[in-house]
């Protein structure tokens, strides 16, 4: 009993302190198994069209996809889904893979256009992925702060927490 209890207490305390709050998260399913790598010759901004001008980067709309894939470019069945959606008149609903808590404000324009950061700084090797990752990357404050500290850029609380 004694051992059981001490295990319980220790694990509980450690657990409360260490467990991520978003413990039970669902897997992400993209509508189309997009391959970033085969598109690597494109600029990120050609699909994430607002990345330089707005706070948000934007996920490509069906029209953006159709810009190239109006007619078949490959024989990939995933590509066919684009035209299928277009035929049905449905939008393509991408799931976001990088998230921040809803109370955090991040400006792509500030980081991409003014600070001239590369996308890889935060998004890692997303551009080289061949199939969509199934888990969401929840960006943490540590990730932001460590970069800011490394680059010696001041960050006040309400710059992000508005």
């Amino acid at each position: 009993m004694k051992w059981f209890l001490s295990g319980l207490v220790i694990a509980f305390v450690v657990g409360i302190a260490a467990l991520p709050p978003d413990l039970l998260q669902k897997k992400v399913q993209q509508p189309i198994a997009f391959n970033h790598l085969v598109h690597k010759d494109l600029d990120c901004a050609s699909c994430h069209e607002f990345v330089k001008e707005q706070a948000f980067a934007g996920l490509p709309s069906l029209d953006v996809c159709l810009g190239c894939h109006e007619s078949a470019v490959t024989e990939n069945p995933e590509e066919e889904k684009i035209r299928q959606l277009a035929a049905e008149g449905k939008p393509v609903v991408w799931q976001r893979l990088f998230r921040q808590p809803s109370h955090v404000f991040y400006s792509h324009r500030r980081h991409v256009t003014i600070a001239k950061l590369d996308c890889q700084n935060c998004h890692g090797k997303m551009g080289e992925s061949q199939s969509p990752p199934q888990s969401v990357h929840n960006l943490t404050m540590e990730e932001c702060i460590s970069c800011h500290e490394a680059k010696g850029v001041r960050a006040g609380c309400v710059d992000c927490h508005r």
Binding site: G15, S102, H103
Partner: protein, 779 residues
Amino acid sequence: MKFSRRGFVKFSAGSAAGLGLAGVSLKTLSDLTAATTEENYPSKGPESFLNSICQLCPGGCGVTVRKVGDRVVRVQGNRNSPINRGGLCPIGVASLQYLYHPARLRSPLKREGSSWTKISWDSALGEIGSKLSSTVGRGEGSHVVMLSQELQGVLRQVASDFLGKLGSNNLIETSGPGDGTGVAVRLMQGVQSRPAYDLTNSNHILCIGCELLEGWSSPVWVMKGYSQFRGKRPRGRLTYAGSRQSVTATKADTAVQIRPGTEGLLALGIAYVLISERLYDFEFVQSHCQGFEDWRDENGRWHLGFRNMVLERYPLNLVSEVTEVPTERILKIAREFGGTRPALALAGPIDSVTANNILAALSVHALNALVGSIDRRGGVLLQYPDPLDTSEPAQSTPSFLGNFAQLLRLGKDPLEAVEQAFESGKPYLPSALITLDADPVSDSHDAKALSEKFQQVPLIVSVSSFLTATAQLAHYVLPSASFLESWVEQESPSGIPFLYHGLAQPATSAFAESRATGDILLGLTRSLGVPVSDEDYGALLKKKIAGLYERKSGAVAGTVFDQLWHQLMEQSGWWAPTYESPDQLVEQVAAKGGWWDSFYRYEDWSRTLRNPTGKFHFSVSGIESLVGGEAAGQLGSLPHFQPPAEGPASEKYHFLVRFFDPLVAVSHQPPLPFVREIAGGLVQNNAGIWVEINEADAEELGIHSGELVWVESIRNRLQVFARVSTGVLPGVVNIPRGVSGWSGDPWSVGSPVASATLAEHGADFMPKWGETRVRLLRS
């Protein structure tokens, strides 16, 4: 203590349980406290700005809309609009809550028994069209009645064309109580156009019953003007006399409280001082006025002049006694008013067409003549006719209103005339009723009686964004788009001393299946099966505005700098338009939010004094039937004083109730939550309606500020919040005229309360706004 294998197993099991427990606790805690509001976040999108024109009141403010994607996230003032120059009133700002109101109607509705069925536009218009056609077939087409808000140019044209196809002239625009000064200007100057007020150039504004800062005229234009009036050097001074401690009263340099219904007498008292101390404008009175001195007509009959009437009948001590204003205060006010030029006197609204009310308006406007503020800088001006609507304002008298239409020119609220026509049933009951973004039932002082009458109408079609009280009685409800979702035309709003014509494109796509009111009307016209052009409302507007190209003056609305530059050019005889073709003009007007011409020629007497004598008349004709009695013989229609016919104070109902219209009531729309939150001015209790009571009276009755009390008149009783104030006269209570709560409103609880239902009825079935008595009971 040994750590055995058994111990290790137990420890591990404990750890697992502890970890699980920790996870569950964290999850529970984060769920319980629900840190995230993520589900509330709407979609993102690129930011853009567009101009439109607010239509929630007749003020005509230009608005700039901030959009994120297709969502409208902010409505602010359009800096280019000469009316509001970037400012906006709270209702305009809150129009977003109108646009995205959860109770907006989504599709046309047809009533079947007591329930509603959704139907398509085609079948709705088809069914209405065939019913109207059969009405015409029965020869009752002329009995079709349309009730609407105040309409603008093309929309008015489309509406009357539609009625014309049916053979009816019953287009009735309900516009609320008339502006007293406006009525007096029409009567005393013999004109038809609307007056304009040169607020910014005035050095002294005297408000006698006029709530200058609470929705009078075009509200934001007034506030802008007031700001400049206060900011210039010498600073403009404001005097207020009225029976309520209103915003205008608190902002005035001198404010006096007078007995309700004695506004006209105070004006005459001031006239007494101006005349006896020779503070009036001799030159103006001599050369441009008639009826100041005693005079003989061509028949040799002698008439009393204004001067002698005032001097003989309204000595200060008498005025002081009845108005309850000390003599020295009247003296001070009069000397200041007479001693400052230019000065402007403004009368209160004509909420009922009574001798007291009309004479008060005349008496106040007489002060303007005395100080020579007629068509002069800083005085009462006259609006130029709209360049695109060159005919004189049509004095069409809807046949439905019969005899009741006569009083409309005296400022009678058209809705009251409608109620009277319904009540009398003469000359006829409508064969069909169409309401256009209007809610006469809610606005009525006796909603019950009016809705009973409405139920006798064989066909009611309601064009409305919401299922209002009126819409609930309709057989068909057609969802109309808000101004942010339609093409908008705006003529010069009342009171503004320059020409303005606004045009704006839709700021966002229409909500659900709703359509612009203009397009609905065009659709209804087409449904009658008569030949009609197939242009839509927007195209009609653009075609009309293109007509400005021929005018070769004025300019597209621009910044203050643009305005100054343009004026400088025009003064030097140049006119350099920014556009080269009519299409370009339309494009620019729509983008900037309007076209305007600030040119005004003062002292253009031939235009502004259009009595047969070419003069300003102290003695007016056309009100004899109102004045009547002993006075008619002696004083004729000189602006004199007739006390209000208030009922005697009884043991039971011993408070005189004053209805007033706060700024937030200028809109005839359903109460928006943001607007209701600020309605009380001071109270943020969302309560909508409150009653203001004098401190001493409240103490006697044991009533505390903020508590719910019953206000009971002979007609009705309402439960409203009490507000105790020193700014209320003893024996008087003030109640905002309006409605609290609304059945389709998710923010309000309880049933709607309309203070107008308290009003006692006169013999003519009309509310006695100024003469109702109530009692207060603690609840």
